[in-house]
């Protein structure tokens, strides 16, 4: 049976305590974001600038990509192009083989998650150590991240403690985050020091300079990239920004939106390979160029992966990342995934009340909730809805567009509700499962109006 968001959400909610914790914790992150953005009178102007810079960039993307490649090469960086996930993985594998590399560390990159790089390399007998604390936790547990910025937000410290006890030999029952983080630090320091290859993501690639910026709080990207002899940075084609000065706009927005920090601890600007190092960039398409051609949806390529839309979304907060059954979860996943696999993601644009909070926290002004609405139209047009729903809609639209039919059905419906309440008050009616039906009045407003008309 196909697992849908609704079914997975229901499963998640069954654990009320965990759901409430998840909801409260992410709401707290949203509040930290609010506090941070309200200190800047220019916040809305920054969002507008960011949005316009990204709109501009998308309109000149091929030119900026070419400029970036040319400048990056001049900086001594090796540039690769990957049409899809498979090619991205193959390129990285080839570099690994060329240097006969054994020890690989990776900092957070949603792109490598999207490409399933770890799994690919694992099948070739190569282990990749994720070094972001949250990512390491879920990696040890053989789980995917449930949130793009807070990968282990679905876990309680007790669960992390058990995992660390098992794999890192920490004390059983010691749940102290400070203690557990220290254990991870020591464990991963060894991995960093032994590493021969560091894989990282890219937050921003600057066309003007041919360099790129990586933002972390932990410092794991830097620990990897500066120790290993080879550094591979993976980026989607949409990571480009035109000028170095535009970094100011995006760095001001990113961390404030993500966690409420004024900036991440480290904003590392890589321009050239380090002494004796090799620096590679893999520029990945994987459906993005096609997405760019979808007028109604290209806007989502502006995303800077801050996850503010996750933290604000009541559906995400109360249903958890895994209910989105894809590598990019949350409202963002719901608008990105249908582009690459509409059938598997057909339920995701419906996992929303269209409350619109996402579009208004978005630092680059992506019209997320409007895209959710538009994806619904596309998904229906392409036939990815059940026949039952289609027939139902046919009947409803037939009735509602014919006033006399509508009045007749309304009257009949209310009469049925009053006379045979059990017809609607049963298990087959999802409304009635946990909610009472509205009382059916004897007369409609129109009936009343006709009687009392002036």
């Amino acid at each position: 049976m196909k697992t849908t968001h609704a079914a997975l959400a229901e499963k998640f909610i069954a654990n009320t305590a965990q759901t409430d914790w998840h909801d409260r914790t992410l709401w707290l992150v949203r509040q930290k974001r609010d506090k941070a953005v309200h200190t800047l009178p220019e916040w809305e102007i920054l969002r507008e600038w960011a949005s316009q810079i990204k709109n501009h960039t998308l309109s000149q993307l091929s030119e900026y990509l070419s400029e970036f490649e040319q400048k990056a090469k001049a900086n001594g960086i090796v540039v690769h192009w990957a049409a899809d996930a498979e090619e991205h993985n193959r390129i990285i594998y080839k570099i690994i083989r060329k240097h006969n590399i054994q020890n690989i560390v990776k900092s957070k990159s949603m792109l490598t998650e999207e490409c399933q790089l770890n799994k690919y390399l694992e099948q070739k007998g190569i282990e990749v150590v994720d070094t972001d604390l949250g990512e390491r936790i879920v990696q040890l547990r053989k789980e995917p991240p449930s949130h793009i910025v807070l990968p282990a937000i679905h876990l309680k410290k007790q669960e992390v403690s058990e995992t660390f006890h098992r794999y890192l030999k920490t004390e059983k029952g010691n749940h102290d985050p400070q203690y557990l983080t220290e254990a991870a630090r020591q464990h991963l320091r060894t991995k960093f020091i032994e590493s021969q290859l560091a894989i990282t993501g890219v937050n921003f690639a600057v066309a003007e300079t041919g360099g790129f910026v990586i933002c972390t709080n932990e410092g794991n990207a830097d620990m990897g990239a500066h120790i290993a002899a080879v550094h591979i940075a993976c980026m989607g084609i949409e990571k480009i920004i035109p000028k170095a000065r535009h970094l100011a706009v995006f760095l001001r927005l990113l961390a404030r939106s993500a966690t409420g920090q004024p900036i991440t601890t480290y904003s590392s600007h890589f321009q050239q390979p380090g002494p004796g190092q090799e620096l590679h960039i893999v520029i990945v398409d994987n459906g993005r160029s096609k997405h760019l051609g979808r007028k109604d949806f290209r806007n989502s390529l502006k995303c800077i992966r801050c996850a503010a839309c996750f933290n604000t979304c009541p559906v995400y907060r109360k249903s958890g990342g895994y209910s989105y059954h894809s590598s990019i979860t949350g409202p963002l996943g719901a608008i990105l995934n249908p582009n690459t696999d509409m059938k598997a993601s057909a339920d995701l644009p419906f996992a929303s009340t269209l409350c619109g909070s996402c579009s208004h926290v978005c630092p680059v002004k992506i019209d997320i909730h409007e895209q959710l609405w538009k994806w619904r139209q596309v998904i229906v047009a392409e036939g990815y809805v059940s026949r039952k729903k289609k027939t139902g809609m046919k009947i409803i639209s037939f009735v509602l567009s014919r006033p006399s039919f509508y009045r007749f059905s309304g009257k009949a419906g209310r009469w049925i509700m009053r006379t045979f309440p059990f017809l609607l008050k049963n298990k087959l009616n999802p409304w009635f499962h946990s909610r009472e039906m509205p009382e059916a009045p004897k007369q409609s407003f129109r009936d009343w109006y006709l009687k009392h008309k002036p």
């Binding site: 968001h5 609704a6 959400a9 229901e10 909610i13 759901t19 709401w27 609010d34 309200h38 800047l40 009178p41 916040w43 009541p314 559906v315 109360k318 419906f350 996992a351 929303s352 009340t353 269209l354 409350c355 619109g356 909070s357 579009s359 208004h360 609405w373 619904r376 139209q377 229906v380 047009a381 809805v385 809609m393 046919k394 409803i396 639209s397 037939f398 509602l400 567009s401 014919r402 006033p403 509508y406 009045r407 309304g410 419906g413 209310r414 999802p430 409304w431 499962h433 946990s434 909610r435 009472e436 509205p438 009382e439 059916a440 009045p441 409609s444 407003f445 129109r446 009936d447 109006y449």
Partner: protein, 245 residues
């Protein structure tokens, strides 16, 4: 001023008292109000389910009913937003545009067009306010917590004119209740969870009523309240503004 009253289908059928209150209130405030008799639905149930192509019949019927008025007023932010954003007509584009530009949700019509400063109403209860998302983030009936802008709320301004009313704002002042149209059926469990959590906040504030500018949110909240035998009642803002208790 020729004002047409648009009473969305589910209000017409299940909450006639909201339509009555809206009509009486507008008349008291001096409007010449008509109720076009062949109206039915705005088409939102189809469109939000992905069947916008099937709302053509509703669109045409809506245009036929409402094309000859200065203003159209409805006690539902959600339906008004739908018309504003999606009412289309291949044959009568100008009439559709006229309607999109002149349709108002009740609160904004009172504050922006009628510029009401005084309402003779009294409602001696503690009322928890629920911002409906479409009214707030779609029609900008009030400022929202997401953006950095001066705070305002058109419904709160109106409720503050009501004698005896004690307004109560929940901690998460603009969190969705989980109704969401088709969502309340397709994601039943989550929808109920969201509604239950909203109610909890109002319970903490010991409110007598939960009120909103959207009946759809209230219908969902009411359903949960009644199932749990909760004493809190729901009431639409039009009923409060038309109240002389």
């Amino acid at each position: 001023m020729k004002v047409a009253l648009f009473i969305p289908c589910y209000i017409d059928q299940f909450y006639p008292q909201v339509g009555i209150a809206t009509l009486q209130l507008l008349k008291r405030l001096g409007c010449r109000v008509s109720f076009p008799l062949q109206q039915s639905c705005c088409g939102q149930p189809m469109a939000n389910s992905g069947f916008a192509t099937r709302s053509k019949g509703c669109d045409n019927n809506f245009i036929d009913n409402f094309k000859h008025f200065d203003y159209i007023v409805a006690p539902s932010g959600s339906c008004v937003l739908h018309i504003k954003e999606h009412l289309k007509s291949e044959t009568h584009p100008e009439e559709a545009a006229h309607i999109r530009g002149t349709i108002y949700e009740l609160c904004e019509f009172l504050t922006d067009i009628l510029q009401v400063e005084y309402i003779k109403a009294s409602f001696p209860y503690k009322v928890g306010w629920h911002n409906s998302c479409h009214g707030q983030r779609g029609l900008y009936l009030s400022s929202m917590s997401e953006t950095v802008s001066p705070e305002f709320s058109k419904p709160e301004r109106l409720l503050n004119m009501v004698r005896g009313l004690h307004l109560s704002i929940p901690r998460r002042k603009d969190e969705c209740c989980g109704f969401g149209g088709i969502f309340c059926i397709s994601e039943e469990a989550l929808s109920v969870k969201m509604g239950t959590d909203r109610i909890k906040e109002h319970e903490l504030n010991e409110v007598d009523y939960i009120s909103s500018a959207d009946v759809s949110c209230l219908m969902h909240i009411e359903g949960i309240l009644k199932r749990n035998k909760n004493n809190i009642k729901t009431i639409h803002i039009a009923e409060i503004l038309n109240s002389k208790l």
